[in-house]
Amino acid sequence: MPREIALADALVPSILLVYLGCLLVLWVIDTIVGHYGLYRYVWHPSLFRVAVFFVLFSAVGLLLYP
């Protein structure tokens, strides 16, 4: 994957797009988990959410830029 992507002639770091994509994935996970009420098994839901985001983002980031 290239380091920068030209969006409408503006160079955008591709990690920014990855970031936005991860936010979207997080939102989907969040909705599913909330729908089934699974957050009751988590001690600190918002911390958990941030941690999930970090895991997602780092995993994708490390895959793309080893």
């Binding site: 909705t31 909330g34 009751r40 600190h44 911390l47 941030v50």
Partner: protein, 713 residues
């Protein structure tokens, strides 16, 4: 600062001390969170080598708020506001790189529109608009003398502002969070409990008008508060998001039940006043089983589920009891009609209350998925465009005056003044007393800069490294957030202090010490703030003034026209919610128990009563097969009523009364032939007449003569 008290202190014999420490604890938690957010933001922005770490810190100080909880909702709208603002800044810069006049006019217009948006959307969205204006100004103003740089500078500013928003959001959400969901749950439960309690307590029959008005005020506040909470909880809690439409439906049922309850009691009250105690007594007797159903014996559970079951059982017994009571009454057509309309209302109330309790029961089941789908309903806000429009004009004029002054004088610190004016014209536009708020903010701002002077020129030069930076700046910085939590006694000072301190501190890596820049910037920003205050003097705010209240009252009366003319689809919820939202805004700034608030309350109740009856009547017209002449007469009655509420006077009252009477007479004539379809319509017409002739309602001054026992036939 180890002022965070432990829970041990609560057990002490001094109750006031415990209370004091509890509020102190809240305050210091907020201060701690602010400090954490500030220094994380500063550290990260220096680590990422952003150009102006102070922008990040200013953003944090604008965004951090003691009412934590709706953090994610706010951050979402703030991020959108920042993006929109920066885009607008870049667009303006590319459109008018050489024409500074056009550029400044359009920038002022943008800032004005953002301030208007902040006033229009009174909830957490308003901050998004403030930030949209602020970002546009902060992106475009520094680049004005160097247009080639605007894109880079815009990227830098957006990164700084976004970093501030993200850090503030994460810190408030993760560190010692105050879960709004708990607040929502307990609020919903307490409102439910109150309502059931109130319905049960009225077992003895009539409730005095004042108590009813008080209760109405409470129901209105409850409905609006629940909606506000729901709208923000869905952002932070996916579980609540899954229940969102159910909660909205619950709120609708709550509002509808409260309205039916009030209508029923108005009828009973009027019957008692007009010397028909037997009819009133019969209705009260009919109400007795409902009261019993609501007060289960101590051995049974008081959960909503069992309450719904009891209400359903009670509902089945009501028609028999009603028939029995009807037999015992004096056989006067008029009185029997009143009784019938009362029973219809009571049936409606009981079935609505049962639905309400049943839905509350399903919401309390927290285990697993929710079963079944519910109807989608939407809480409608009632907006008035006068206040936002005035805010737009005011902010625009402030900005344009500052720009003209800047262009003519060639003042190098004009942008600072404009930036401050941008921030505060948005933030203060929603305040009901902006003049004193501006004065307080100004004082706070000046104090903050004084503190920053000491820090920048005496403490910072000797410090080294990030830890020393924290040590040098923290003691004075802490004062700001602490004062913010005391905003009940010192409104505005805390916010002004923090912003002034952080703004003029202008932390950088490496730090720049320049006394003349410091003083020039300080004077410019104080000047900008002063201009905002002057704009509030010249174009005073309309929020909380009598003029706006009169206007909103007019709008509230128009709700009856809405009920009479709008398409039926989803009308009930639209009517009930917009009504409450509007009424909430009207009574927000009136003194309780003043004559004004009395009359407003009376109007609120009258509009509620008649509007609901009109909607029910229109449903009858649409759905039941009534003969066409009857439908026409009813439609005329509905129109006449809408006409009356548009601009109440005696002639219109007479007209409406005659139209309703005529419709009643016609319905009575057809009643023997088609009892099933005419009965509900007749009940609603009677309810309309009750509301019209109620000599304690707001319509009382327009009543021409009170016909004691008018013979409709």
């Amino acid at each position: 600062m180890a002022a965070v008290p432990s829970d041990v202190s609560v057990k002490r014999p001094l109750p006031w001390l415990g209370e004091f420490l509890a509020t102190e604890r809240q305050a210091w938690i907020f201060v701690f969170k602010c400090m954490l957010a500030f220094y994380i933001a500063a550290w990260l922005s220096m680590l990422f080598q952003l150009e102006q770490p102070s922008t990040t810190m200013i953003t944090v100080s604008i965004v951090m708020h003691p009412h934590s909880g709706m953090v994610l909702a706010k951050s979402f709208y703030r991020a959108i506001g920042t993006c929109a603002g920066s885009l607008c800044g870049v667009l303006l810069m590319s459109a008018f790189p050489q024409q500074r006049e056009l550029f400044l006019v359009s920038l002022s217009l943008w800032v004005g529109l953002c301030a208007g948006g902040a006033v229009l959307y009174r909830n957490f969205m308003s901050y998004g608009f403030v930030l949209a204006g602020y970002t546009a100004a902060i992106v475009a103003l520094p680049a004005i003398s160097n247009p080639y740089n605007v894109f880079d500078s815009a990227m830098m500013r957006v990164s700084e502002v976004m970093l501030g928003i993200v850090v503030a959001g994460l810190v408030s959400d993760m560190v010692l969070p105050e879960r709004l969901r708990q607040v929502l749950r307990s609020a919903a439960r307490s409102h439910y409990g109150h309502f059931i309690e109130f319905a049960r307590g009225s077992l003895g029959g009539a409730i005095p008008r004042e108590k009813m008005e008080e209760a109405h005020l409470r129901f209105v506040r409850a409905a609006v508060q629940l909606e506000d909470l729901r709208a923000s909880v869905i952002f932070e809690d996916p579980e609540a998001r899954a229940r969102s439409s159910r909660m909205q439906l619950l709120n609708l049922r709550y509002m509808a039940t409260a309205t039916s309850f009030q209508s029923l009691h108005h009828l009973i009250n009027r019957l008692q006043r007009n010397n028909h105690p037997r009819t009133a007594g019969a209705l009260i007797k009919l109400y007795a089983p409902v009261g019993e159903a609501l007060s289960p014996p101590p051995t049974e559970s008081t959960a909503p589920k069992s309450l719904a079951v009891r209400l359903e059982a009670c509902e089945a017994t009501l028609p028999a009891l009603a028939a029995e009571l009807r037999e015992g009454l004096r056989q006067d057509t008029e009185l029997l009609l009143e009784f019938d309309s009362g029973t219809t209302l009571l049936y409606r109330f009981v079935s609505e209350l049962r639905d309400f309790a049943a839905l509350e029961a399903t919401l309390r089941e927290t285990q697993g998925r929710l079963k079944g789908n519910v109807e989608r309903v939407d809480f409608k806000r009632a907006n008035d465009y006068a206040a936002p429009l005035i805010a737009v004009v005011r902010s625009f004029l402030t900005m344009i005056t500052l720009s003209v002054f800047w262009l003519w004088s060639g003042w190098p610190f004009g942008p600072s003044a404009m930036l401050l004016a941008t921030i505060f014209s948005g933030l203060l536009a929603t305040s009901p007393a902006p003049l004193s708020a501006t004065a307080n903010t100004w004082i706070g701002y000046a104090l903050g800069m004084l503190a920053a002077y000491v820090v920048v020129f005496y403490l910072l030069p000797g410090s080294d490294g990030f830890a020393m930076l924290m040590l040098a700046t923290m003691p004075f910085l802490m004062i700001g957030p602490y004062l913010t939590t005391r905003s009940a006694t010192l409104p505005g000072i805390g916010g002004g202090y923090t912003l002034g301190y952080v703004y003029i501190l202008a932390l950088k890596n490496p730090m720049v010490y320049s006394p003349e820049h410091f003083f020039n910037d300080a004077i410019a920003s104080l000047f900008g703030l002063m201009m905002t205050g002057m704009a509030f003097m010249i174009i005073p705010t309309v929020i909380g003034t009598e003029w706006l209240r009169r206007r909103q009252l007019q709008q509230l009366r128009r709700q009856v026209s809405l009920a009479a003319t709008a398409p039926m689809e989803g009308l009930l919820y639209r009517f009930e919610s917009a009504n409450r939202d509007l009424f909430h805004q009207i009574v927000q700034f009136t003194k309780p128990n003043s004559t004004e608030s009395r009359s407003l309350l009376a109007w609120g109740l009258a509009v509620h009563d008649s509007g609901r009856a009109v909607i029910e009547l229109r449903q009858d017209i649409h759905h039941a097969d009534l003969p066409p002449p009857l439908c026409e007469a009813m439609q005329r009655a509905v129109d006449a009523l809408a006409h009356l509420y548009d601009a109440p006077d005696r002639a219109r009252w007479e007209q409406a009364d005659r139209a309703v009477d005529h419709a009643i007479a016609l319905t009575m004539q057809t009643l023997p032939q088609m009892r099933a379809t005419c009965q509900p319509a007749l009940a609603h017409l009677l309810q309309l007449r009750t509301a019209l002739r109620d000599d304690e309602s707001a319509l009382a001054p327009y009543i021409v003569k009170v016909p004691e026992t008018p013979h409709a036939t």
